[in-house]
């Protein structure tokens, strides 16, 4: 088990933010950073995923691991993320249906895109498995599946040439913005909520940031010097968010997505704002960690087990929505829902690590060189 560190900490922070933001209307929502900027926790999550891929595909000494190992590791991770998405979709749909039956309330069947499944299960079941039917709030993992699936290419190209990787990634991003390329939804019309063709850029940026700062002291110092710039960007973001100033997409010139604040296509404004956030907050963990030991341990624990925590968080936030709906909400309910949710997330992280620590009866000879038997819990993205 890793010691608490900045990456796990911020990842845990992103997970908690996503959990709270996925119970819309709750009191704590307005205290999350997503309300005070152009980008939000989704960007942070994907960027750190890229960063972690860089860590996971190197040995303890920092040397790149063999190519085949990298491909297999990321392939195995793709399977895990896909499995998680299918599992939480099945559970979420059952929760929605069960809740509608129990409360005798068909309104619940129309919950964020679920209506399609219940009105048209034959097509939609296929769509669920193909990841082309996504429920609202359950659309990050489909993106993550695609990103981890292409991650072997990212890592291997990055080992050949980082400039080439960045150029390829930027070209794909730019073309997707201009031509509005996206993965289609099916059987519903429309596109994916998170366009993997655009969001891959953040994964690549996370990966490259880790690779580059690992080796270059000069780059690290340059980043630190750019911190004031980051603070300016963050301040502008706060002003724009609080005053709700954003371009009107009907008035934006072509190519429209370059100018609007679009989440699906990760429009440049969101990207710039996020980079500003990274610059502004890069040193914060080192600053606060000694003073908030417990918080750092808690959030790092969540971050270490991000997939399990994210999955549980998705289901818990759905359950929280139902509780709020049925009880009518209110401060007391919100405190209970969010509080018990955070405790449950903490337990999830602890439980996953307890399971992986437990000696297994049929265990083969321990292989000290790699931790390939438990890529999920310890090292992988």
């Amino acid at each position: 088990m890793r010691e608490p560190n900045a990456i796990d900490f911020w990842r845990g922070f992103a997970l908690v933010t996503i959990f709270i933001n996925h119970i819309p209307g709750n009191v704590f929502e307005r205290y999350t950073f997503s309300q005070y900027g152009i980008s939000d926790a989704a960007e942070l999550f994907v960027f750190l995923a890229g960063w972690s891929i860089g860590l996971a595909t190197r040995g303890r000494d920092g040397a790149p691991e063999p190519r085949l190992t990298t491909v297999l590791r990321l392939l195995s991770r793709t399977v895990e993320v896909y499995r998680a998405q299918i599992t939480i979709m099945a559970l979420a749909l059952a929760m929605i249906a069960g809740c509608a039956l129990y409360l005798d309330n068909p309104l619940i069947l129309e919950w964020h895109n679920a209506g399609g499944f219940f009105a048209d299960p034959i097509q939609t079941m296929v769509g669920v498995v193909l990841l082309t039917h996504q429920l609202g709030f359950f659309n990050i993992l489909p993106l993550y599946v695609v990103l981890i699936a292409i991650a072997p290419a990212v890592v291997l190209i990055g080992r050949v040439s980082r400039v080439l990787l960045l150029a390829l990634s930027l070209s794909l991003y730019g073309a997707s913005l201009v031509f509005e390329w996206n993965f289609p939804s099916w059987p519903g019309e429309g596109d994916w909520f998170f366009d993997p063709l655009c969001w891959q850029l953040l994964l690549v940026l996370g990966f490259l940031s880790n690779e580059a700062t690992r080796e270059s002291e000069r780059l690290r110092r340059l980043w630190q010097r750019l911190m004031p710039l980051g603070i300016v960007v963050v301040a502008v973001g706060v002003v724009l968010a609080v005053l709700e100033l954003r371009p009107d997409p009907m008035l934006a010139p072509e190519p429209r997505l370059v100018f609007t604040f679009d989440k699906t296509y990760l429009s440049p404004a969101r990207l710039i704002h996020f980079c500003g956030m990274v610059l502004a907050f890069q040193g914060v963990y080192a600053l606060i960690a000694p003073h908030v030991g417990r918080l750092a341990r808690f959030l790092s624990g969540l971050g270490r087990n991000s997939l399990a925590v994210f999955s549980m968080g998705s289901l818990l936030s759905l359950a929280g929505q139902f509780v709020r709906f049925q009880t009518g909400g209110g401060i007391f309910i919100d405190i209970s829902v969010v509080g018990s949710g955070l405790i449950a997330l903490g337990f999830t992280a602890w439980f996953v690590e307890w399971r992986s620590r437990r000696p297994r009866p049929t265990r083969k000879a321990p292989d000290a060189a790699s931790s390939a038997d438990s890529p999920s819990s310890s090292r992988s993205a």
Partner: protein
């Protein structure tokens, strides 16, 4: 309390709208309020296809022929012979009060339709967002659509027995009605229509009670009801009061429309004037 929280009073003996399928028949006053649809009319005059963007919980635009958007398209083409109607459908996850309005704008900008049919309120009701925040955000979004010369029809949320006495929910439905009236846009009273249908002892009304299914009927009726509201709204006169249809002149929306006649642009003075409607029900604790 249930009677007080009913969005519309129920005139006992109004005739059912015979243009609808027997199982979807509802009196006109329960079904819609009308207002003019300029952009669609313009498209009709230019004899070009009408582009409709259907948005909302049942609007995922399913591939099956049974889906609501396909039904809407069929019903519209039936009601408007010789007119080609292209319905694009999108689900809209998220709450109007927090961000869904922004997504709606992106969708509208992407498609530039003549008409938006927006089934609204479900997600906000499920999240129990503040009624006022919802009303304001909805009003803003409707104004935005109108300000770009695009017509919009609202559909209020579904009726369900279990929420018939829920003051918050009925207030939500009423807020959609108020916004429609304030902005002079047609409204499909899905809530009132389903409430009415649930009292008819037809064999298929079971979907609204216990052991419901989200079945064909509810969605087909909604498509028919939306179509009826759209076609009747198209018959609204430009400025004169004498309507072609007998039932067209009855509604509040029409009166509002005449009062503000000719101004398609949004009136900033109207923004935020909340609760002009009937006695607001108390908020649920």
């Amino acid at each position: 309390m249930p009677a007080a929280s009913t969005p519309l009073p129920s005139p006992a003996a109004e005739a059912l709208d015979q243009s609808l399928s027997p199982e979807c028949r509802v009196p006109g006053s329960k079904l819609y309020t009308l207002a003019r649809l300029k952009a669609v009319k313009a498209a009709l005059k230019e004899k070009r296809p009408i582009r409709v963007l259907s948005i909302g919980s049942s609007s995922a635009g399913l591939g099956a022929s049974a889906s609501y958007p396909v039904k809407l398209e069929n019903a519209l083409e039936q009601a408007l012979p010789d007119v080609q109607v292209e319905v694009e459908a999108r689900g809209l996850p998220g709450e109007v009060a927090s961000g869904a309005g922004e997504r709606l704008r992106s969708m509208v900008a992407e498609m530039e339709p003549d008409l938006v049919v927006w089934q609204v309120g479900t997600n906000d009701a499920l999240a129990r967002v503040g009624i006022e925040a919802f009303g304001e955000a909805l009003d803003e979004s409707v104004q935005w659509v109108k300000s770009h010369g695009i017509d919009i029809v609202l559909i209020d949320p579904v009726f369900t027995e279990s929420l018939a006495d829920d003051a918050y929910y009925t207030q939500m439905v009423r807020t959609v009605q108020e916004v429609a009236r304030r902005e002079a846009v047609p409204l499909v009273h899905r809530y009132a229509a389903m409430r009415f249908l649930s009292t008819q002892r037809t064999t298929e009304a079971h979907m609204l009670g216990r052991h419901f299914r989200l079945n064909d009927l509810g969605l087909r009726c909604m498509a028919e009801h939306a179509t009826r509201a759209i076609t009747l709204s198209l018959l609204q006169p430009e400025a004169a009061k004498d309507a072609g249809k007998a039932d067209a002149g009855k509604t509040d929306a029409v009166k509002t429309d005449h009062a503000t006649s000719g101004t398609a642009k949004t009136d900033p003075a109207q923004t935020g004037t909340s609760s002009t409607g009937p006695t607001p029900a108390p908020k649920q604790p």
